[in-house]
């Protein structure tokens, strides 16, 4: 799956200063189709322009970033979301990923890296920042204690494979997908598929940690 040559982007953030900052960082490598500063206007805008990628602030006044994702995803599955946040609180990040975002980066990301991340999300790839990799490793850390493993525990969804763990660890150590491929003697495509699989588990798993984080953000 290759993305469009020049992705169309919508920027959703409640800080005008940040939006214009992002807009100038992205330059003309992408087409900015619009900006929104809250959940309601964002949903309306996205449904109207149907961009390739939405750069979405995790913290929005009217319900948070995941409210936008939840509203759009069912009707427009081809609109992809890249979460942006300054806070790095795991529950925020995990909540928006579980709602359906394809990746997460911090707001301190450099211009070229952000452009790169937009292109990757547009191509339906994942963007895992080291911090997100850390959160996921934490959430899937150990097997739940006996007794809590419950009938709901599904090893397909509720635990990571060794390889997925290795990939996440290298992301957390600051490796790019290309570097991870070289390190583990696998192709970049394989790295990508491992991360996609992790993302899927992250979204579908009912692990205690994940559901607790989701519950804290009132996401079910």
């Amino acid at each position: 799956m290759t993305g469009p040559a020049r992705p169309r982007v919508v920027i959703v953030d409640d800080h005008g200063l940040f939006r214009s900052g992002v807009r100038s960082e992205l330059g003309d490598r992408v087409e900015v189709a619009g900006e929104a500063d809250d959940v309601g206007p964002a949903i309306e805008l996205i449904a109207r322009v149907l961009p390739d990628v939405v750069l979405l602030d995790v913290h929005l006044p009217g319900g948070g970033g995941q409210a936008v994702v939840s509203a759009i995803r069912p009707a427009h599955p081809h609109v992809r979301f890249l979460a942006l946040s300054a806070s790095d609180a795991p529950e925020d990040v995990i909540a928006v990923i579980r709602a359906g975002a394809r990746g997460y980066v911090t707001k301190t990301i450099s211009g070229p890296d952000l452009v790169d991340a937009v292109y990757r999300v547009a191509a339906d790839d994942t963007v895992f920042s080291p911090r997100l990799a850390g959160f996921v490793l934490d959430a899937f850390a150990a097997l739940p204690p006996d007794g809590q493993a419950s009938p709901r525990f599904d090893p397909e969804l509720d635990q990571l494979t060794t390889r997925e763990r290795d990939v996440l660890r290298l992301i957390a150590r600051g490796y790019t997908y290309r570097e991870i491929g070289r390190e583990l003697y696998i192709s970049v495509k394989t790295v990508e598929s491992h991360v996609s699989s992790v993302l899927r588990k992250l979204q579908l798993s009912t692990r205690h940690q994940l559901t607790r984080w989701a519950a804290e953000r009132r996401l079910t």
Partner: protein, 383 residues
């Protein structure tokens, strides 16, 4: 054949007949020591005073033996001749042994011919006198043991007392020397630890101050920070770079490293931690090593960002410090550049951890630090 085996054989022969000792001394005289060309006997032949002395001691001993046999102490005769030969031999060896052997001999004979102060020598004389009296008394008691069972026992006790009086102080000193040696080793280890810490904090700060010499505000800030750190180390016992206070955890320690390095080196540190646990001494050392590696990356790599990843697993804690900077050839770092070699690797190895440094010119650097956790402390796992 082993030296000890030969010595034991000689002791057995000596006990059996008495000539073993003489044979041993003769062999000592005639066989050159390992690594030497001449034997002691050939050197002794040139030592006229030594020969005279040996002849004198030998004849004195013969005279004593004759007197003893006249007095009827019969058993003395059986060991007499070996005794004379050995004594003469030992006198010659004493004067003509190689420097190394001389030293050993002097050490062994120290309690008998102490060369200390006047009072010390007089005390030694007294001790030797008392020891001799006790020894003779003991021997005499032992030799006339026809009556009771207690007699030989008291004789043995007296002989032992004599030995203790003669050699006791010397043994004490040997024991004291051992303790002193152990203390010296501990001090050396402490010094190397201290050197690593001073390098981490004070020397680093001084280097920074030199780099920023034309920014007075910066210099003041650095100096203040260093002063605070040193004070808290000297007066509160909190080691610089290893904030091992109570309740400190790996995650908090990593955050602190991030904060300090960002503050001092103006370079973002991307820190990620997975899991958490309380610090013990090993993990404090791990953190200190990680800090050093991070500072190194911030200072030398030229990379725009340093990645710091710490993971707490049940069996071990690992920290990775990575930059995409200029890198270096780890084999080409001169031995006197203490940074990575001493502070990071040695520090880890002293605690049973490992440090791996992967780098190549132009390809960045990654320092992997791994400390395994003892089984007893694994319960407190992740957050």
């Amino acid at each position: 054949m082993d030296v000890t085996v030969i010595r034991v054989l000689f002791v057995l022969v000596t006990v059996a007949g008495g000539f073993g000792l003489a044979a041993y001394v003769l062999a000592w005289l005639l066989l050159p020591a390992a690594g030497e060309e001449t034997n002691i006997a050939s050197r002794a032949l040139a030592d006229r005073r030594g020969l005279t002395l040996a002849a004198g001691v030998g004849s004195l001993l013969v005279a004593l033996l004759i007197i003893a046999s006249l007095l009827g102490v019969g058993w003395f005769g059986t060991v007499a001749w070996p005794l004379v030969i050995s004594t003469v031999g030992i006198v010659l060896i004493w004067r003509n042994a190689s420097p190394g052997e001389q030293e050993t001999l002097h050490r062994l004979a120290e309690p008998l011919m102490s060369q200390g102060s006047e009072t010390h020598r007089r005390w030694t004389l007294w001790r030797t006198g008392i020891a001799l009296v006790l020894l003779i008394w003991g021997l005499v008691t032992l030799l006339h043991t026809s009556h009771a069972v207690l007699r030989p026992l008291s004789g043995v006790a007296l002989v032992i007392a004599a030995i203790v009086v003669a050699f006791g102080p010397w043994w004490l000193r040997i024991a004291r020397d051992l303790v002193a040696e152990r203390q010296a080793r501990a001090r050396a280890e402490e010094r190397s630890d201290l050197a690593a810490r001073v390098h981490d904090s004070v020397l680093q700060t001084l280097a920074l101050i030199q780099l920023r010499a034309n920014e007075p505000q910066q210099v003041i800030q650095l100096a203040r920070a260093q002063e605070r750190e040193l004070r808290s180390w000297l007066f509160e016992g909190r080691a610089p770079g290893s904030p091992a206070g109570d309740g400190m955890t790996i995650a908090a320690g990593v955050r602190l490293i991030q904060q300090e390095v960002e503050e001092q080196h103006r370079i973002p540190v991307e820190a990620v931690t997975v899991g958490d646990c309380e610090l013990d001494d090993d993990l404090a050392a791990l953190l200190a090593a990680a800090r050093e590696a991070t500072v190194n990356a911030a200072k030398w790599s030229g990379a725009p960002v340093v990645s710091l990843f710490a993971e707490v697993e049940p069996a071990r804690v690992s920290i990775y410090v990575r930059d995409r900077g200029r890198g270096f050839d780890p084999a080409a770092v001169p031995a006197d550049r203490k940074g990575l070699a001493e502070s990071v690797r040695a520090r880890m190895e002293r605690r049973g951890g490992t440090a791996t440094i992967r780098s190549a010119a132009g390809q960045g650097t990654e320092v992997s630090l791994i400390m395994s956790r003892p089984a007893g402390r694994r319960q407190q796992g992740r957050t």
